[in-house]
Symmetry: C2
Subunit: 196 residues, 2 copies
């Protein structure tokens, strides 16, 4: 179960076997079934996590009970409510499983020990956070000036094959549109493709 996370880390920093083993000893593996809540808004996010298999979503719920999806978390992605984890304050976001999933969690105290024992992890998480920030900057700008159709095409590019794995209303909640409007876009694109 540790192969994927080892490869994920190796993209950014080089670890000795002893350093990786120490990191691995801090991880808590969990199997969660579909629809299990991993974090509820208002709870303290005690973990940062990595998806080894399956798919989660990070979402928030507005006053009207509607969900917005901040991002999907398929295999090889990391997740947390960062602010809640860093400051140990109530989470704004919730996290739950869209599929049966295998995840690895690290708690706050272990993460702090990790930074002290193996400072290279500061670098890893700086780089990963930068990448997440860049991706979100592009999504923000896209949201400001792209049509829903263009955003849908970007979603498909960013998350290849994910559309076949999650419900239409989850994709709509990520795009910030209604499921009915997403259906219309899909029909239009299918007809467009068929008419070529």
């Amino acid at each position: 179960m540790l192969d994927r996370i080892k490869r994920n880390i190796a993209k950014h920093i080089e670890l000795t076997d002893a350093e990786f083993d120490y990191f691995a000893s801090l991880l808590q593996p969990r199997h969660v079934t579909r629809r299990t809540s991993i974090l509820t808004p208002g709870q303290i996010c005690w973990f940062e996590g990595f998806v080894d298999a399956g798919c989660l979503r990070v979402y928030c719920t507005d006053e009207d009970g509607g969900d917005q999806i901040l991002y999907f978390v398929p295999e090889d992605w990391w997740f947390a409510d960062i602010q809640s984890f860093v400051s140990q304050t109530p989470a704004v976001f919730g996290i739950d499983a869209l599929e049966d999933s295998d995840i690895l969690l690290i708690d706050k105290r272990s993460k702090e020990s990790l930074y002290l024992e193996v400072p290279k992890f500061e670098r890893l998480f700086r780089i990963m956070t930068q990448r997440a920030l860049v991706a979100l900057q592009h999504r923000m700008i896209a949201y400001m000036h792209q049509t829903a159709e263009e955003r849908y095409l970007e979603f498909k590019q960013k998350y290849p094959n994910l559309e076949d794995r999650v419900c239409q209303h989850q994709v709509a909640a990520y795009l910030g549109i209604s499921p009915e409007f997403l259906s219309k876009i899909r029909r239009k694109l299918t007809l467009g493709v068929l008419s070529v």
Copy 2:
């Protein structure tokens, strides 16, 4: 000119005088007048920067020539096109001065030396990037489900007094609405306040 950046850093990491002096020796101070372009989309972003006085904007231009403002950079804020800086690829975003500004720049090679010589800076930039990511996550979610009026009120909270310093069309470009629509919102809010 170094007092502000020293205090900014001291919020997150402790440096010895020698460490700060080394960092300071890597900084390139610049005075830029209003409307000066600091980075044009398509150029390589060779710097990360800090605003000591004044205000910049980080923006991008869509195919129709319209600007979207990713964020404003008043005093005490950092700026860069992160992806361009990290990977030395052409910038997507442009950066220019909305006011006469005093800025401090650090180039890519100096930043890498800094990480090697004073690894604490990995921690500083990890923390700052996390904070930027959290702020952008909230803005993204707000954008997905808030009205333009609510977003305008959030802008005022996030950037106190900035509205008096930048043109209305810049604020509109940040909110993703037309200047005319922003005028309407302002009039409505003013009337609302007057009628209380």
